[in-house]
Assembly symmetry: C2
Homo-oligomer: 255 residues x 2
């Protein structure tokens, strides 16, 4: 069952993509669209709200909506899962467990994951047959058994965990910065020590808010780029000072 407003959003997205509404042009008014699709104005507003969140259109009171771009947004799974992202974008991909061990949680980890024992896994992932990503993931104890049952060259951990224990990862927080490659990073990725890596630290939870894993993912420079659209009305990206001593922090990575 697909909602009416989703189908309207799809239709409008398609029209934007095909150039029926070129970038920079005005979208028809809400009443026009309501008439055309045979729905109430509120439903049209839900549809264009979807496009606004995607950064496709902008709006301001009193003026017609403007087409800002023709982007398609990726699914949550595609951001979270390397395999799903690579596949959806037509890349070859692979992965290999380099190290895997149970250990006691650090103080920070035990608060984040709600466990005092954790499973740590080091994976090297390849994109189009080149090593691009070193993934250091720490799993909460309750998912550890399922992770340990996976083959070392499991291509998609996210999908495998869904199939084996029905795990759905629903929420994530991501911290993005740049770091120099350490000795192990350098060896695995085939770059010089100290060379730039794009780091994405994340913590993910289930629908119920139960923590699943935290991870420190490091991409070889040039292999991936993160992209985001924002506006005066919607600003999902946040910038923070990186010095841990100064200033407050306020995200899942704290407590």
């Amino acid at each position: 069952m697909v909602a009416r407003y989703e189908r309207i959003a799809d239709a409008l997205r398609e029209e934007i993509l095909t150039g029926a509404h070129p970038v920079g042009s005005q979208l028809p008014s809400e009443s026009d669209l309501a008439g055309r699709f045979g729905v109430a104005r509120g439903t049209v507003r839900q549809a264009v709200a979807v496009l606004a969140v995607e950064g496709l259109v902008g709006s301001r009171q009193g003026a017609r909506r403007i087409v800002l771009g023709r982007a398609r947004s990726q699914s949550f799974a595609e951001l979270h899962s390397f395999a799903q992202w690579a596949r959806a974008n037509g890349h070859r991909y692979g992965g290999q467990v380099i190290e895997q061990r149970r250990r006691a949680a650090s103080a920070v980890e035990s608060v984040r994951l709600g466990n005092d024992k954790v499973l740590e896994v080091l994976r090297l992932r390849t994109l189009d047959d080149e090593p691009v990503l070193v993934e250091r993931t720490v799993y909460a104890e309750w998912v550890a058994p399922a992770v340990e049952r996976l083959p070392a060259d499991c291509e998609s951990v996210t999908e495998a965990l869904y199939e084996s224990i029905g795990l759905v990862i629903a929420y994530g927080e991501h911290l993005i910065d740049a770091v120099p490659a350490g000795a192990q990073d350098a060896r695995l990725l085939g770059v010089r020590r100290g060379s730039p890596l794009l780091r994405q630290r994340r913590i993910t939870t289930t629908y119920e808010g139960r923590p699943v894993e935290t991870s420190d993912d490091r991409y070889r420079a040039g292999s991936v780029i993160f992209s985001i659209r924002n506006s005066i009305g919607a600003n999902p990206l946040v910038r923070q000072a990186g010095d841990l001593r100064s200033g407050r922090r306020e995200h899942m990575f704290d407590l």
Copy 2:
């Protein structure tokens, strides 16, 4: 005039922040909140939608909403403007124009900005008296005169342009990756050549979709971190392969 749903969102945000609704707990039902605030259910839904976009609460049909974190969300201006961000976060900040010149636009720039002449400005910005950011900004011709009238040590270009010509930057697209410091970067930031920098390329437009500037901002590693929350229902961040030869790209940086 602040909307009713905004004030309700503020109230709930405050309650989450103060711990009245701890992380992991359930939010009251929509009907409860509607009764408590004396509004229709739709208004409550608008309010919690705000919190959902901020990543504070999650939801799924049939189950009560869950508190995911105690957010702070920054304003759009704070992401766009180094000065406004630094000030809001209690840092000292400064800036200095290193180079500034008019030149012909490159092919790409002329399409992005809609101009064949541009103004290029190289600025070095300091945070807490340390150089942390090299900003290479290319302005469309129509804003160039106003930019040229600014003092070389202008602290907030965004605010100055608003005051001088009423310029409001309403939309932005940002690409984030890691790059090695070039010779000029290294000299200005006081780091070694090749050391990691966090790069944020952006293009911004007015409400009407008119391009204002593109910029290549490079942060010293460790000085800033970008942070984002996402969910299965809202996924603003997009990951792309970095190899420019492969795959399609679909954002303002194209055409």
